[in-house]
């Protein structure tokens, strides 16, 4: 791993944002819309359901913020690759002394940066609009957020690999991948709320434990140990799997001349 290379790749991305600040809108706009819709919906439900309302406002707003962590992290990785496809710069990067690991670590760094911009803004806004402070529950939430970033990275590697394999036509996959799993991910409702078959899928995803764990933290104010262990363990497996998949697809791409095809499309 070469830190100069990683720095350079991240720098390219920072330059991009300083040059075209309008890109920041994408980091803020959709999360904001989500926050408003879900936030006011929760407020409304809470007011009308009175004391008996089973969900506290914290749940849904917290879920919205955390789902966005996952989504931004995943997209950070895919967009990192697509930016180079769009600007016909891909071959310059892959013909430079960049190893696959350098490349992946840079995508992760960018995913983290993107997610932290979104989270900061959402946290601030939910504090102002709904007096909801996601960090009020203490730092017990932090390991879950970190796990979400890691899972987002794994998903990002998988979607990028699919784009490498099937070309720009698969670009929509980059946007859709997280939503394939959303119904199973227990973002807004507990795993028990699902039919048994879906529960099985749900239990195989690290993010289900993360969202369950988050609810546990918000409910009890304690660290949800079991959920954290499960999420971390599964994440390690997903990360290794996604990394191997990416390396494998890059090999196929080099053999089939897929990278160079991108350049001329």
């Amino acid at each position: 791993m070469n830190f100069h290379v990683i720095q350079a790749l991240v720098l390219r991305y920072l330059f991009l944002y300083t040059r075209t600040p309008v890109r920041l809108v994408e980091l803020i706009f959709w999360p904001l819309v989500n926050l408003l819709v879900w936030g006011y919906l929760t407020l409304f439900l809470q007011q009308h359901a009175g004391e008996g309302f089973p969900y506290q406002i914290t749940y849904l707003i917290g879920a919205v913020i955390l789902w966005d962590v996952l989504f931004r992290a995943q997209q950070g990785v895919a967009i990192f690759f697509l930016e180079d496809v769009w600007s016909r710069n891909l071959l310059n990067i892959f013909a430079a002394p960049v190893t696959t690991l350098d490349y992946l670590v840079s995508t992760y760094a960018v995913g983290m940066l993107r997610a932290s911009v979104t989270v900061s803004i959402l946290t601030l806004l939910s504090l102002v609009l709904y007096s909801f402070n996601i960090f009020e529950v203490g730092w017990y939430l932090a390991p879950f957020v970190l796990n979400l970033l890691v899972f987002g990275w794994a998903l990002g590697m998988i979607s990028t690999a699919l784009i490498v394999r099937w070309g720009p036509a698969a670009e929509t996959l980059a946007w859709a991948t997280p939503f394939f799993i959303q119904p199973f991910a227990a973002v807004f409702y507990p795993v028990e709320g699902l039919p048994p078959v879906m529960q099985a899928v749900s239990k195989a995803l690290p993010c289900s434990y993360i969202f369950e764990g988050m609810r546990e933290v918000l409910r009890s104010g304690h660290l949800a140990g079991h959920e954290l262990v499960m999420a971390t363990g599964l994440n390690v497996l997903y990360l290794i799997g996604a990394g191997l998949f990416f390396v494998h697809i890059m090999k196929i791409a080099r053999r089939g001349g897929l990278l160079t095809k991108f350049a001329s499309q």
Binding site: A8, R12, F15, R19, S87, P97, T260
Partner: protein, 259 residues
């Protein structure tokens, strides 16, 4: 004889059952500029992309600086660079930002100074603060060349570097290419469809036809071999696939495909 900078041995690339490069071998000596000539689809870009490690050969081997490319790819790429009509630097960044990113990717020491040097060399210092995407085709080709020279490569691969240049700039670029070759001892692999380019720049030429080497030698040797007046005449004859054998004085033909 010194060890070649680039040695390509029996290089083959098949895409499915189509053979893009069909068993090509050549060497480039230190400080030499080798031209890769051939019609559209002859396999030049595929060969260059294999040397860059962007495409894995079906068989054969590539060694650069005496090291096997498949095994030492990253170390080799650090001392190599390329410029191709098929790529651009990110259009939404400024010229200096692009060069900063690539300079750091290649670990170039004293980068700000080096950036000014290459911009001066290609006479685009005045474009330093411009948006790369707003440059004209010729200007952005020169920016690509700046990126290619940034790390003082010992092996430079140029895929149609003069394709979009006006005659004046093309002439200047040819001179720059020759100059860095002579002054810095850079070794080059050069493709172009402009025969004037090739005659002026290349020490030696490898003529590709449908993925195979038809002939290699100095431009003069090739012209003499095919008994044509100019390299362009040879090119047209080969491209039209007509008579690939050289005409000899007594009218007999000598097969020129490598055995």
């Amino acid at each position: 004889m010194p060890e070649p900078i680039l040695r390509v041995t029996d290089l083959v690339k098949r895409f499915g059952d189509f053979t893009a490069v069909g068993g090509v071998s050549f060497d480039i000596a230190p400080g030499e500029i080798l031209g890769l000539l051939g019609a559209n689809g002859a396999g030049k870009t595929t060969a260059i992309n294999m040397v860059l490690g962007l495409i894995t050969p079906t068989s054969g081997s590539i060694s650069v600086f005496g090291q096997d490319l498949a095994q030492h790819r990253t170390a080799i790429l650090r001392r190599m660079n390329f410029c191709s009509t098929y790529t651009n630097l990110p259009g939404n960044l400024l010229v200096w930002q692009n060069l900063t990113v690539f300079g750091r990717l290649y670990g170039v020491p004293d980068l700000p100074r080096r950036i000014d040097e290459v911009l001066d060399l290609l006479e685009i210092a005045h474009l330093k603060k411009r948006v790369a995407g707003h440059l004209s085709a010729g200007e952005s080709t020169r920016l690509n060349l700046c990126k290619a020279l940034l790390n003082r490569p010992r092996l430079l691969l140029l895929d149609e570097p003069t394709a979009s240049l006006d005659p004046d700039i093309a002439d200047k670029v040819r001179k720059v290419v020759r100059r860095v070759c002579q002054e810095d001892g850079v070794t080059m692999l050069y493709t172009s469809h402009n025969m004037r380019d090739v005659e002026e720049v290349c020490d030696r030429v490898v003529f590709l036809h449908k993925g195979r080497i038809l002939h290699q030698g100095t431009p003069e040797q090739i012209v003499a071999h095919f008994q044509e007046k100019t390299l362009e005449d040879v090119f047209i004859r080969v491209a039209r696939g007509g008579d690939l054998e050289p005409r000899t004085a007594d009218g007999s033909v000598t097969p020129t495909f490598p055995s």
